[in-house]
């Protein structure tokens, strides 16, 4: 199978696939021109660590394509994923010198990077950027808090169902396939990465995925391709309010 080339890098903000969702979403064309001055693209291969916790950060940026994870690790090796970075998500924190988490590419990835200093200066005089960043940060905070409920109170089966539901929902919004009811998508994560996300061991993840399959909650084609025949059933298994889970 041919590997998709990661080298199709946009150079104009106009045809950027994340133009309307990233930090720059609210910018006018003159503001985009300013951003253009301080931006550069950079690509990473699957498995590569983009940023090590503790590194000094000289840039911030947006994920243009691909998927990365944000993880925290204890001295003895226990690791917990604390965020999943998808296209349009923002990486780095203005006003902070060093990275607080490891950022690892799960697939090949393209980043749109801004040199940190000039970006901070621009943010100070461009409310559109700060406003959008606030909005995105509030969304991430909500996601993190929802995840706290998953980590703290849900059973292994509910955790797996929750993760699949999140991926399904996100996939539906990104790929905008109008076909309701039947959802098909690929799990972007290995069993181990899923375990790190859910606070489980990879064996438990494997067992619970198999159990959900046996019970007809999901169907599997190979190890990664998932079909969800009944999204509300999945939400029930996740322990969520079934009405709260409307797509989009």
């Amino acid at each position: 199978m041919l590997k998709e080339k990661a080298s199709i890098i946009p150079h104009e903000c106009g045809d950027c696939p994340i133009r309307h969702r990233a930090v720059c979403a609210r910018c006018e064309s003159d503001e985009l021109e300013q951003l253009d001055q301080i931006k550069y693209y950079r690509s990473y291969e699957s498995g590569q660590t983009l940023i090590w916790s503790g590194d000094t950060m000289d840039f911030v940026g947006s994920v243009v394509s691909g998927i990365a994870t944000l993880t925290q690790t204890m001295e003895d090796g226990r690791t917990q994923m604390v965020g999943l970075l998808l296209p349009s998500d923002f990486v780095g924190r203005p006003g902070r010198a060093s990275a607080a988490y490891d950022v690892v590419a799960v697939t090949d990835i393209v980043m749109c990077c801004f040199r940190k200093k000039p970006f901070e200066e621009m943010m100070a005089r461009t409310p559109h950027i700060a406003q959008r960043l606030l909005e995105m940060t509030l969304d991430e905070l909500d996601a993190a808090r929802e995840w706290m409920l998953v980590l703290g109170r849900k059973t292994a089966r509910e955790k797996i169902a929750s993760l699949i539901a999140i991926i399904a929902r996100r996939d539906a919004t990104l790929s905008k396939n109008g076909t309701r009811g039947l959802l098909v998508f690929d799990l972007p994560l290995t069993r181990e990465a899923m375990a790190d996300y859910l606070g489980l061991t990879l064996e438990t993840v494997s067992r619970q995925v198999s159990a959900l399959k046996k019970d007809g909650v999901i169907e599997l084609e190979g190890k990664r391709r998932v079909t969800v025949p009944d999204f509300n059933r999945l939400l029930e298994e996740a322990g969520d309010d079934s009405d709260g889970g409307m797509l989009i």
Copy 2:
């Protein structure tokens, strides 16, 4: 013992105890005057629910004094605390109509509330407020992510030690008592609230608190008053990098 009166409510921003830490921290005096137009104080008693998840919010605001919790509850009653609100913390989300979490007063509480609509309008034209709110939200996001590691990967004993360390650290920054080494403070939470924070049962919390006491990591005076003889020891028990835990 006399109950502290919650009725000492500031009316001037000038002598407000959270003036330099809340959303309004960066505001100039003319901006404070504008805020003054749309603000009002409101107090709640210990145990009262300030906001129910799903309620429409007609205000946002800052905690002036007292402590509140942010909790999420599943249909079957399992609950997870997703935030602890201390003086200067912000409540509510600009741009969102309804509350996502329950907010419950743990002690008597005084809030400085802003009517939501005018606050949003003011935020749009006052970068100082949006900037400060962004900063605060980023801090909360970091705290939430640190908590994800606690919930997902730490043992019961480590969870308790982590919680005590957080409360100790916060108490040290708030009360600014320069005495290093020996920390004394009150646990503001019941065993049940601690359990909800940590994703444990209240029995496990009680057992682990006793165990930490038996092992000399903490000392107890009554049920609530805690002394930490050696903060680094506590951090070790929490599984944290001992160097990462410097006060302030």
